[in-house]
Protein backbone atom coordinates (compact mmCIF):
# COMPACT_ATOMS: atom_id res chain seq x y z
CA UNK A 1 0.00 0.00 0.00
CA UNK A 2 1.73 3.14 -1.16
CA UNK A 3 0.78 6.62 -0.12
CA UNK A 4 0.21 9.21 -2.84
CA UNK A 5 3.11 11.56 -3.45
CA UNK A 6 3.07 14.30 -0.84
CA UNK A 7 0.80 12.39 1.53
CA UNK A 8 2.33 10.82 4.61
CA UNK A 9 -0.46 8.37 5.35
CA UNK A 10 -1.21 5.20 3.42
CA UNK A 11 -4.81 4.17 2.81
CA UNK A 12 -4.36 1.26 5.22
CA UNK A 13 -3.21 3.63 7.98
CA UNK A 14 -6.18 5.91 7.33
CA UNK A 15 -8.50 2.92 7.56
CA UNK A 16 -6.99 1.80 10.87
CA UNK A 17 -7.31 5.31 12.28
CA UNK A 18 -10.80 5.69 10.84
CA UNK A 19 -12.05 2.41 12.28
CA UNK A 20 -10.66 3.15 15.74
CA UNK A 21 -12.18 6.64 15.69
CA UNK A 22 -15.57 5.59 14.33
CA UNK A 23 -15.80 2.80 16.92
CA UNK A 24 -15.33 5.33 19.74
CA UNK A 25 -17.84 7.74 18.22
CA UNK A 26 -20.46 4.98 17.96
CA UNK A 27 -19.97 4.19 21.64
CA UNK A 28 -20.18 7.87 22.54
CA UNK A 29 -23.46 8.30 20.64
CA UNK A 30 -24.99 5.20 22.23
CA UNK A 31 -23.86 6.37 25.64
CA UNK A 32 -25.12 9.96 25.26
CA UNK A 33 -28.54 8.72 24.23
CA UNK A 34 -28.78 6.03 26.89
CA UNK A 35 -27.45 8.03 29.81
CA UNK A 36 -28.89 11.48 29.17
CA UNK A 37 -31.42 11.57 26.30
CA UNK A 38 -33.07 14.81 27.44
CA UNK A 39 -29.83 16.68 27.02
CA UNK A 40 -28.64 14.72 23.99
CA UNK A 41 -31.63 15.79 21.90
CA UNK A 42 -31.67 19.42 23.00
CA UNK A 43 -30.77 22.06 20.44
CA UNK A 44 -27.97 24.54 20.96
CA UNK A 45 -26.67 27.31 18.75
CA UNK A 46 -23.18 26.84 17.43
CA UNK A 47 -21.07 29.56 15.87
CA UNK A 48 -21.63 33.27 16.13
CA UNK A 49 -24.43 35.24 14.43
CA UNK A 50 -25.23 35.67 11.60
CA UNK A 51 -23.52 32.39 10.73
CA UNK A 52 -24.79 30.50 13.77
CA UNK A 53 -26.66 27.27 13.30
CA UNK A 54 -28.85 25.15 15.50
CA UNK A 55 -27.69 21.61 16.14
CA UNK A 56 -28.39 18.84 18.61
CA UNK A 57 -25.92 18.18 21.39
CA UNK A 58 -25.60 14.53 20.38
CA UNK A 59 -24.54 15.59 16.85
CA UNK A 60 -22.00 18.15 17.95
CA UNK A 61 -20.67 15.85 20.67
CA UNK A 62 -20.15 13.06 18.14
CA UNK A 63 -18.39 15.36 15.68
CA UNK A 64 -16.09 16.70 18.37
CA UNK A 65 -15.32 13.16 19.50
CA UNK A 66 -14.37 12.21 15.94
CA UNK A 67 -12.01 15.16 15.49
CA UNK A 68 -10.33 14.65 18.83
CA UNK A 69 -9.93 10.90 18.69
CA UNK A 70 -8.53 11.04 15.17
CA UNK A 71 -6.03 13.72 16.14
CA UNK A 72 -4.94 11.73 19.20
CA UNK A 73 -4.76 8.33 17.50
CA UNK A 74 -1.29 6.70 17.71
CA UNK A 75 0.43 9.56 19.53
CA UNK A 76 -1.10 12.24 17.29
CA UNK A 77 0.29 10.74 14.08
CA UNK A 78 -2.86 11.92 12.32
CA UNK A 79 -2.82 15.46 13.70
CA UNK A 80 -2.18 16.81 10.20
CA UNK A 81 -5.41 15.36 8.78
CA UNK A 82 -7.90 18.20 8.35
CA UNK A 83 -11.33 17.32 9.68
CA UNK A 84 -14.41 18.83 8.04
CA UNK A 85 -17.48 17.98 10.08
CA UNK A 86 -20.98 18.23 8.65
CA UNK A 87 -22.28 20.26 11.60
CA UNK A 88 -19.69 22.96 11.01
CA UNK A 89 -19.95 23.11 7.22
CA UNK A 90 -21.62 26.46 6.77
CA UNK A 91 -19.54 28.20 4.14
CA UNK A 92 -21.01 27.29 0.76
CA UNK A 93 -17.94 28.69 -1.00
CA UNK A 94 -15.54 26.38 0.84
CA UNK A 95 -13.12 25.04 -1.76
CA UNK A 96 -10.57 22.38 -0.80
CA UNK A 97 -8.98 22.09 -4.24
CA UNK A 98 -5.68 23.60 -3.14
CA UNK A 99 -5.43 21.77 0.20
CA UNK A 100 -2.08 20.05 0.52
CA UNK A 101 -3.11 17.88 3.48
CA UNK A 102 -5.24 14.79 3.69
CA UNK A 103 -8.80 15.86 4.51
CA UNK A 104 -11.65 13.90 6.00
CA UNK A 105 -15.30 14.76 5.47
CA UNK A 106 -17.27 13.48 8.42
CA UNK A 107 -20.92 13.01 9.19
CA UNK A 108 -20.38 11.74 12.72
CA UNK A 109 -24.08 11.09 13.18
CA UNK A 110 -25.94 10.69 9.91
CA UNK A 111 -29.64 10.05 10.53
CA UNK A 112 -30.20 11.71 13.89
CA UNK A 113 -33.95 11.72 13.21
CA UNK A 114 -33.85 7.91 13.12
CA UNK A 115 -31.75 7.61 16.27
CA UNK A 116 -34.21 9.94 18.00
CA UNK A 117 -37.05 7.61 17.10
CA UNK A 118 -35.25 4.49 18.22
CA UNK A 119 -34.68 3.26 14.66
CA UNK A 120 -31.44 1.75 13.45
CA UNK A 121 -30.70 3.14 9.99
CA UNK A 122 -28.21 5.79 11.15
CA UNK A 123 -24.44 5.73 10.85
CA UNK A 124 -21.12 7.45 11.47
CA UNK A 125 -19.47 8.12 8.10
CA UNK A 126 -16.04 9.39 7.13
CA UNK A 127 -14.27 9.72 3.81
CA UNK A 128 -10.55 10.49 3.64
CA UNK A 129 -9.31 12.27 0.54
CA UNK A 130 -6.22 13.94 -0.74
CA UNK A 131 -7.15 17.04 -2.78
CA UNK A 132 -3.67 17.29 -4.32
CA UNK A 133 -3.79 13.69 -5.51
CA UNK A 134 -4.20 12.40 -9.04
CA UNK A 135 -7.77 12.79 -10.37
CA UNK A 136 -9.63 9.53 -9.85
CA UNK A 137 -7.32 8.56 -6.98
CA UNK A 138 -8.01 11.36 -4.54
CA UNK A 139 -10.39 9.38 -2.34
CA UNK A 140 -8.02 7.32 -0.19
CA UNK A 141 -10.42 5.51 2.13
CA UNK A 142 -13.97 5.46 3.47
CA UNK A 143 -15.08 4.14 6.85
CA UNK A 144 -18.68 3.83 8.04
CA UNK A 145 -19.89 2.53 11.39
CA UNK A 146 -23.41 1.23 11.95
CA UNK A 147 -25.33 1.05 15.26
CA UNK A 148 -24.81 -2.73 15.17
CA UNK A 149 -21.07 -1.92 15.70
CA UNK A 150 -20.22 -3.28 12.25
CA UNK A 151 -17.71 -1.01 10.56
CA UNK A 152 -17.62 -1.06 6.76
CA UNK A 153 -14.60 0.23 4.89
CA UNK A 154 -12.89 0.39 1.52
CA UNK A 155 -9.52 1.61 0.40
CA UNK A 156 -8.26 3.28 -2.75
CA UNK A 157 -5.77 0.45 -3.14
CA UNK A 158 -8.19 -2.49 -3.11
CA UNK A 159 -11.07 -3.40 -5.39
CA UNK A 160 -13.47 -4.66 -2.77
CA UNK A 161 -14.98 -3.67 0.56
CA UNK A 162 -14.73 -5.13 4.05
CA UNK A 163 -16.53 -5.19 7.38
CA UNK A 164 -14.98 -5.23 10.83
CA UNK A 165 -17.58 -6.88 13.02
CA UNK A 166 -15.60 -6.38 16.23
CA UNK A 167 -12.03 -5.34 17.03
CA UNK A 168 -9.78 -7.35 14.71
CA UNK A 169 -12.50 -9.57 13.22
CA UNK A 170 -12.74 -8.67 9.53
CA UNK A 171 -14.45 -10.20 6.53
CA UNK A 172 -15.05 -9.19 2.94
CA UNK A 173 -18.59 -8.01 2.15
CA UNK A 174 -20.85 -10.82 0.97
CA UNK A 175 -21.54 -9.11 -2.33
CA UNK A 176 -24.50 -7.75 -4.26
CA UNK A 177 -27.50 -9.33 -5.93
CA UNK A 178 -27.79 -10.05 -9.64
CA UNK A 179 -31.27 -8.54 -9.93
CA UNK A 180 -31.85 -6.85 -13.28
CA UNK A 181 -35.65 -6.49 -13.57
CA UNK A 182 -37.58 -3.84 -11.71
CA UNK A 183 -40.35 -6.31 -10.77
CA UNK A 184 -37.82 -8.33 -8.73
CA UNK A 185 -36.03 -5.39 -7.15
CA UNK A 186 -35.85 -3.95 -3.66
CA UNK A 187 -35.43 -0.20 -3.95
CA UNK A 188 -34.62 2.38 -1.27
CA UNK A 189 -35.02 6.11 -1.56
CA UNK A 190 -34.79 8.93 0.91
CA UNK A 191 -38.44 9.83 1.38
CA UNK A 192 -38.97 10.79 5.00
CA UNK A 193 -39.53 14.47 4.29
CA UNK A 194 -42.60 15.55 2.31
CA UNK A 195 -40.60 17.07 -0.53
CA UNK A 196 -38.51 13.93 -1.01
CA UNK A 197 -41.50 11.63 -0.64
CA UNK A 198 -43.48 13.55 -3.25
CA UNK A 199 -40.55 13.67 -5.69
CA UNK A 200 -40.77 9.92 -6.17
CA UNK A 201 -44.54 9.81 -5.87
CA UNK A 202 -44.81 12.23 -8.80
CA UNK A 203 -42.17 10.50 -10.92
CA UNK A 204 -42.58 7.97 -13.70
CA UNK A 205 -41.45 5.26 -11.28
CA UNK A 206 -44.68 5.63 -9.30
CA UNK A 207 -46.70 5.19 -12.52
CA UNK A 208 -44.62 2.11 -13.35
CA UNK A 209 -45.44 0.70 -9.92
CA UNK A 210 -49.18 1.17 -10.60
CA UNK A 211 -48.80 -0.72 -13.88
CA UNK A 212 -46.84 -3.53 -12.20
CA UNK A 213 -49.50 -3.83 -9.51
CA UNK A 214 -52.34 -3.92 -12.05
CA UNK A 215 -50.52 -6.57 -14.10
CA UNK A 216 -49.87 -8.71 -11.04
CA UNK A 217 -53.54 -8.48 -9.97
CA UNK A 218 -54.79 -9.43 -13.44
CA UNK A 219 -52.38 -12.38 -13.62
CA UNK A 220 -53.52 -13.71 -10.26
CA UNK A 221 -57.15 -13.25 -11.28
CA UNK A 222 -56.78 -15.13 -14.57
CA UNK A 223 -54.22 -17.74 -13.54
CA UNK A 224 -55.41 -18.24 -9.96
CA UNK A 225 -53.74 -17.49 -6.64
CA UNK A 226 -50.95 -19.94 -7.31
CA UNK A 227 -49.40 -17.23 -9.49
CA UNK A 228 -46.58 -15.76 -7.35
CA UNK A 229 -46.88 -12.19 -6.12
CA UNK A 230 -44.30 -9.72 -7.35
CA UNK A 231 -41.10 -9.50 -5.28
CA UNK A 232 -40.89 -5.75 -5.72
CA UNK A 233 -40.32 -3.77 -2.50
CA UNK A 234 -39.80 -0.07 -1.96
CA UNK A 235 -38.51 1.53 1.26
CA UNK A 236 -38.53 5.25 1.93
CA UNK A 237 -35.40 4.86 4.04
CA UNK A 238 -32.13 5.14 2.19
CA UNK A 239 -28.76 6.77 2.75
CA UNK A 240 -25.37 5.31 3.46
CA UNK A 241 -26.48 2.30 5.58
CA UNK A 242 -28.65 1.04 2.69
CA UNK A 243 -25.73 1.52 0.25
CA UNK A 244 -23.62 -0.76 2.45
CA UNK A 245 -26.31 -3.41 2.65
CA UNK A 246 -26.57 -3.26 -1.16
CA UNK A 247 -23.13 -4.90 -1.35
CA UNK A 248 -23.48 -7.09 1.75
CA UNK A 249 -26.40 -9.39 1.10
CA UNK A 250 -27.07 -11.64 4.10
CA UNK A 251 -26.72 -14.87 2.11
CA UNK A 252 -27.18 -16.29 -1.37
CA UNK A 253 -30.80 -17.29 -0.74
CA UNK A 254 -31.94 -14.04 0.84
CA UNK A 255 -33.29 -10.92 -0.79
CA UNK A 256 -31.08 -7.87 -0.46
CA UNK A 257 -31.14 -4.19 -1.28
CA UNK A 258 -30.87 -3.85 -5.06
CA UNK A 259 -30.88 -0.08 -5.57
CA UNK A 260 -30.64 3.16 -3.61
CA UNK A 261 -31.71 6.37 -5.27
CA UNK A 262 -32.16 10.08 -4.78
CA UNK A 263 -33.69 12.51 -7.25
CA UNK A 264 -33.69 15.68 -5.16
CA UNK A 265 -29.96 15.99 -4.54
CA UNK A 266 -27.94 15.11 -1.45
CA UNK A 267 -24.85 16.71 0.05
CA UNK A 268 -21.54 14.82 -0.35
CA UNK A 269 -21.37 13.95 3.37
CA UNK A 270 -24.66 12.03 2.97
CA UNK A 271 -23.49 10.04 -0.04
CA UNK A 272 -19.78 9.73 -0.83
CA UNK A 273 -18.53 7.42 1.95
CA UNK A 274 -21.27 4.86 1.26
CA UNK A 275 -21.12 5.22 -2.52
CA UNK A 276 -17.34 4.74 -2.53
CA UNK A 277 -17.58 1.54 -0.48
CA UNK A 278 -20.45 0.20 -2.60
CA UNK A 279 -18.72 1.06 -5.90
CA UNK A 280 -15.51 -0.60 -4.69
CA UNK A 281 -17.59 -3.73 -4.12
CA UNK A 282 -18.98 -3.58 -7.65
CA UNK A 283 -22.13 -1.44 -7.41
CA UNK A 284 -22.93 0.90 -10.30
CA UNK A 285 -23.86 4.54 -9.83
CA UNK A 286 -25.49 6.77 -12.43
CA UNK A 287 -26.63 10.35 -12.31
CA UNK A 288 -30.42 10.22 -12.04
CA UNK A 289 -30.82 13.25 -14.31
CA UNK A 290 -28.14 12.82 -16.99
CA UNK A 291 -28.09 9.00 -16.67
CA UNK A 292 -24.30 9.10 -17.01
CA UNK A 293 -22.05 6.82 -14.97
CA UNK A 294 -20.78 8.46 -11.76
CA UNK A 295 -17.05 7.90 -11.49
CA UNK A 296 -14.69 8.13 -8.51
CA UNK A 297 -13.48 11.40 -10.03
CA UNK A 298 -16.98 12.85 -9.90
CA UNK A 299 -17.35 11.80 -6.26
CA UNK A 300 -14.05 13.59 -5.59
CA UNK A 301 -15.26 16.76 -7.27
CA UNK A 302 -18.18 16.93 -4.85
CA UNK A 303 -15.79 16.48 -1.90
CA UNK A 304 -13.68 19.42 -3.00
CA UNK A 305 -16.65 21.76 -2.53
CA UNK A 306 -18.46 19.90 0.25
CA UNK A 307 -20.98 22.61 1.17
CA UNK A 308 -21.80 23.87 -2.29
CA UNK A 309 -25.43 23.40 -3.42
CA UNK A 310 -24.05 22.95 -6.96
CA UNK A 311 -22.23 19.80 -5.87
CA UNK A 312 -25.22 17.90 -4.55
CA UNK A 313 -25.58 14.41 -5.95
CA UNK A 314 -28.66 12.95 -7.63
CA UNK A 315 -28.13 9.30 -8.31
CA UNK A 316 -29.23 5.72 -8.72
CA UNK A 317 -26.83 3.30 -7.05
CA UNK A 318 -27.57 -0.21 -8.16
CA UNK A 319 -26.43 -3.81 -7.82
CA UNK A 320 -26.42 -4.19 -11.62
CA UNK A 321 -26.22 -1.72 -14.49
CA UNK A 322 -29.27 -3.33 -16.12
CA UNK A 323 -31.42 -2.57 -13.07
CA UNK A 324 -29.93 0.92 -12.90
CA UNK A 325 -31.00 1.48 -16.52
CA UNK A 326 -34.49 0.10 -15.87
CA UNK A 327 -34.98 2.44 -12.93
CA UNK A 328 -33.68 5.47 -14.84
CA UNK A 329 -35.89 4.80 -17.86
CA UNK A 330 -38.98 4.66 -15.67
CA UNK A 331 -37.97 7.45 -13.33
CA UNK A 332 -37.90 10.11 -16.00
CA UNK A 333 -40.61 8.75 -18.31
Amino acid sequence: MISPIGSIHTSEELIQAGISTVRRVLKQIADDVKADPDNAFTEVNIGTPPKDKKALRVDIGAEDMFARELRKYKQSTFYDVHVFGEERLRDETLDLTLQSHICVLVDALDGTDLLERGLGNWCCAAVFFYPSGKPGERIRAAVVGLPSSEIYFASADESSAWVEERVGKRREVHGRSGVTALKDATICYYGQKMKNYMSLHESGLARKMSTMLAKSKTKRKTKGKTEPKTNFRIYNLAGIPMMLKLVDKLCQASHGIDAVLDIDGQKPHDVVAGAFIAMKAGAVMRNSITRELVTFEQLEQSLLKPASPDHELTYVLSATDELCGNILVNLMS
Binding site: K27, Q28, I60, G61, D64, E69, V167
Partner: protein, 68 residues
Protein backbone atom coordinates in the same frame (compact mmCIF):
# COMPACT_ATOMS: atom_id res chain seq x y z
CA UNK B 1 -18.11 26.81 39.78
CA UNK B 2 -15.35 28.11 37.52
CA UNK B 3 -13.82 25.90 34.86
CA UNK B 4 -10.49 25.87 36.69
CA UNK B 5 -11.99 24.77 39.98
CA UNK B 6 -14.10 22.15 38.18
CA UNK B 7 -10.95 20.88 36.56
CA UNK B 8 -9.07 20.82 39.86
CA UNK B 9 -11.82 18.96 41.67
CA UNK B 10 -11.92 16.37 38.88
CA UNK B 11 -8.16 16.01 39.03
CA UNK B 12 -8.09 15.36 42.74
CA UNK B 13 -11.11 13.07 42.72
CA UNK B 14 -10.11 10.52 40.08
CA UNK B 15 -6.50 9.59 39.35
CA UNK B 16 -6.06 9.13 35.60
CA UNK B 17 -3.24 9.16 33.09
CA UNK B 18 -2.17 12.53 31.73
CA UNK B 19 -3.78 11.92 28.36
CA UNK B 20 -7.12 10.91 29.84
CA UNK B 21 -6.93 13.79 32.29
CA UNK B 22 -6.29 16.08 29.33
CA UNK B 23 -9.30 14.56 27.57
CA UNK B 24 -11.44 15.14 30.66
CA UNK B 25 -10.43 18.78 30.86
CA UNK B 26 -10.99 19.33 27.13
CA UNK B 27 -14.37 17.68 27.32
CA UNK B 28 -15.53 19.62 30.37
CA UNK B 29 -14.58 22.82 28.59
CA UNK B 30 -16.34 21.73 25.40
CA UNK B 31 -19.45 20.58 27.27
CA UNK B 32 -19.70 23.87 29.12
CA UNK B 33 -18.94 26.25 26.28
CA UNK B 34 -20.27 24.57 23.14
CA UNK B 35 -22.89 22.13 24.37
CA UNK B 36 -23.95 24.62 27.08
CA UNK B 37 -24.45 21.88 29.64
CA UNK B 38 -24.62 22.70 33.33
CA UNK B 39 -21.32 22.21 35.21
CA UNK B 40 -22.67 19.02 36.79
CA UNK B 41 -23.78 17.58 33.44
CA UNK B 42 -20.57 18.76 31.77
CA UNK B 43 -18.55 16.71 34.27
CA UNK B 44 -20.81 13.68 33.95
CA UNK B 45 -20.56 13.69 30.15
CA UNK B 46 -16.79 14.17 30.32
CA UNK B 47 -16.44 11.26 32.75
CA UNK B 48 -18.41 9.01 30.43
CA UNK B 49 -16.29 10.00 27.44
CA UNK B 50 -13.11 9.20 29.36
CA UNK B 51 -14.53 5.79 30.24
CA UNK B 52 -15.42 5.09 26.61
CA UNK B 53 -11.93 6.03 25.39
CA UNK B 54 -10.29 4.06 28.19
CA UNK B 55 -12.30 0.93 27.36
CA UNK B 56 -11.64 1.29 23.61
CA UNK B 57 -7.90 1.64 24.23
CA UNK B 58 -7.90 -1.46 26.45
CA UNK B 59 -9.83 -3.44 23.85
CA UNK B 60 -7.41 -2.41 21.07
CA UNK B 61 -4.35 -3.11 23.24
CA UNK B 62 -5.72 -6.53 24.16
CA UNK B 63 -6.21 -7.38 20.49
CA UNK B 64 -2.73 -6.08 19.60
CA UNK B 65 -1.10 -8.19 22.30
CA UNK B 66 -3.06 -11.30 21.21
CA UNK B 67 -2.11 -10.89 17.57
CA UNK B 68 1.55 -10.03 18.29
Amino acid sequence: MSLESTAQSMQTRIPVSRDLEELRMEKIHFNLTVLKLSPKKAREWADRTVKIVEEAELEEAEFASKSA
